[in-house]
């Protein structure tokens, strides 16, 4: 009973494998096996969002997800959003707007904000609050976090327009 089994999945785009026990959760497995320290267990009940991970492109609470069940899946953590040289637009926006104090909740906030902006590129304050109601910031940097999501939305829209123009130019040139 409860033997180790090897699971294979993609982590931030890279194929990986790990021996896990059936009762191990995704936070434990990602930290133990891959030093993915952006994934943090805080409340352990799916309420706070510090352990936000994407499984097959959907945000889940890693603390409530059995690691064994990501076998064959595509898993993404905040480590996969950008690099130190090239932060993602949402990461940049959180820094510019100082959307944090201690930073413990930040990876989860950025993961949820990124997903929100994929679904809704121009959210209102109310839509941001509703979508991110499951992410808690004990420093209460909420006003700055909301400002950061708006800033990120602007950046993403601006880069989309630039891309569209570049495409148009390429089409004309082509």
């Amino acid at each position: 009973m409860a033997e180790y089994r090897t699971i294979r999945f993609r982590l931030n785009g890279r194929p990986v494998e790990l021996a896990v026990q059936p009762h191990e959760n995704l936070v434990e497995a990602l930290r133990r096996g891959f030093q993915m320290y952006s994934v943090r267990e805080s409340c352990g009940q799916g309420l706070c969002g510090c352990c936000t991970v994407y499984v097959n492109g959907k945000a889940v609470s890693g603390c409530l997800y059995l690691a064994a069940l990501v076998d064959g899946c595509d898993v993404q953590t905040a480590e996969g959003l950008g690099t130190l040289q090239q932060l993602s637009p949402v990461q940049e926006a959180f820094i510019e707007c100082e959307g944090f104090q201690c930073g413990f909740c930040t990876p989860g906030m950025i993961m949820m904000a990124t997903q929100l902006l994929q679904e809704n590129p121009n959210p209102t304050d109310e839509e941001i609050k509703h979508y991110m109601s499951g992410n808690l910031c004990r420093c209460a940097a909420y006003p700055e976090i909301i400002a950061a999501v708006h800033r990120a939305a602007e950046k993403l829209r601006a880069s989309k327009e630039t891309d569209a123009k570049a495409d148009q130019a390429a089409t004309v040139a082509g």
Partner: protein
């Protein structure tokens, strides 16, 4: 969390065979959001879990048939139901209620089947589906049976599911033209807490008179229940303030609220009266052929 064995069958037949046991330490695992919490708090320590994850493609369909019945696959996630145009078209009350349930991550994982099989009276869809006269199809190695949701939910965290049975479909009969609905929930501790009271109401008005009324209450009571006395009182009435106020008062006499951290029995009774009245007022005030939305 205690150690357990995890099996991941590929077919329903295989899953039903693995679950065909009286051993209470063998259980199915769907989204697992509730089960994980029970295991983490050591409320439940299974020896073996049968994951239904690989059955999802065959058991997550959402569709309306020629007769207008809504069919919901039990492995559809709550988020899939929330975003489904088919569900929204059938009754916008369902997606609106789902948007107030827990958070996006939990809804991305939690399934309809788990939501019902858990038997937790604080869930948001059971009162709505109860008011919609939903039927639950359960299957086992012996075959299947169809159970009205009112008989499926038997008590506090208990259901009519026998060992070896899985929910394989939820079917909702078509709503008569002109029916308007709403779901009102009251949270006592914080906005995103489980409700202390939930009221689902669907009313059909013809020439200003109530021709059909269905009212279900949840969370305050040990299981979601229909308020048949309130429904028969409303039929044939005009939805005046006085009538709706009386319907709320009558609701208070029909329930046996459980006292817990969210309120005393007496307090919950008062809140249910208010929620029933407000749900009916909302519907009466909606002058288009839609729904009254969800209020908290």
């Amino acid at each position: 969390m205690n150690a357990f064995d995890l099996i991941q069958p590929d077919t329903l037949e295989e899953a039903l065979s693995l679950l065909n046991t009286d051993d209470p330490l063998v259980r199915p695992l769907a989204g697992g959001t509730a089960l994980m919490l029970m295991m983490k708090s050591k409320l439940y320590a299974p020896e073996r879990l049968v994951s239904l994850q690989r059955l999802k493609p065959s058991l997550d369909k959402v569709k309306v048939d020629e007769a207008g019945r809504l069919h919901l696959g039990p492995l559809a996630t709550l988020r899939e139901l929330e975003l489904s145009p088919v569900v929204a078209q059938f009754s916008p009350v369902i997606p609106k209620a789902l948007r107030t349930l827990s958070n996006v991550r939990v809804r991305n994982v939690a399934t309809l089947g788990g939501h019902l099989a858990h038997g937790d009276p604080h869930m948001d869809l059971p009162p709505i589906l109860l008011a919609l006269d939903a039927q639950v199809r359960v299957s086992s190695e012996a075959g299947h049976r169809d159970i009205p949701l009112s008989e499926f939910l038997t008590g506090y965290y208990s259901t009519a599911l026998a060992p070896g049975e899985l929910i394989t479909e939820v079917v909702v009969p078509p709503l008569p033209q002109g029916t308007r609905g709403t779901y009102v929930k009251f949270t006592a501790l914080s906005a995103d807490d489980w409700p202390m009271a939930g009221v689902a109401a669907f009313v059909r008005l013809e020439d200003g008179q109530i021709s059909d009324a269905r009212v279900a209450v949840s969370a305050a009571t040990e299981r979601p229940v229909r308020l048949h006395e309130v429904e028969s009182f409303l039929r044939g009435q005009r939805p005046t303030d006085e009538v709706l106020h009386h319907a709320g008062e009558l609701a208070g006499t029909q329930i046996h609220p459980l006292a817990d951290i969210r309120g005393s029995s007496g307090y919950k009774r008062e809140i249910v009266k208010v929620c029933v009245r407000r749900s009916l007022q909302q519907i009466a005030q909606t002058d288009h052929n839609g729904d009254g939305g969800v209020t908290q």
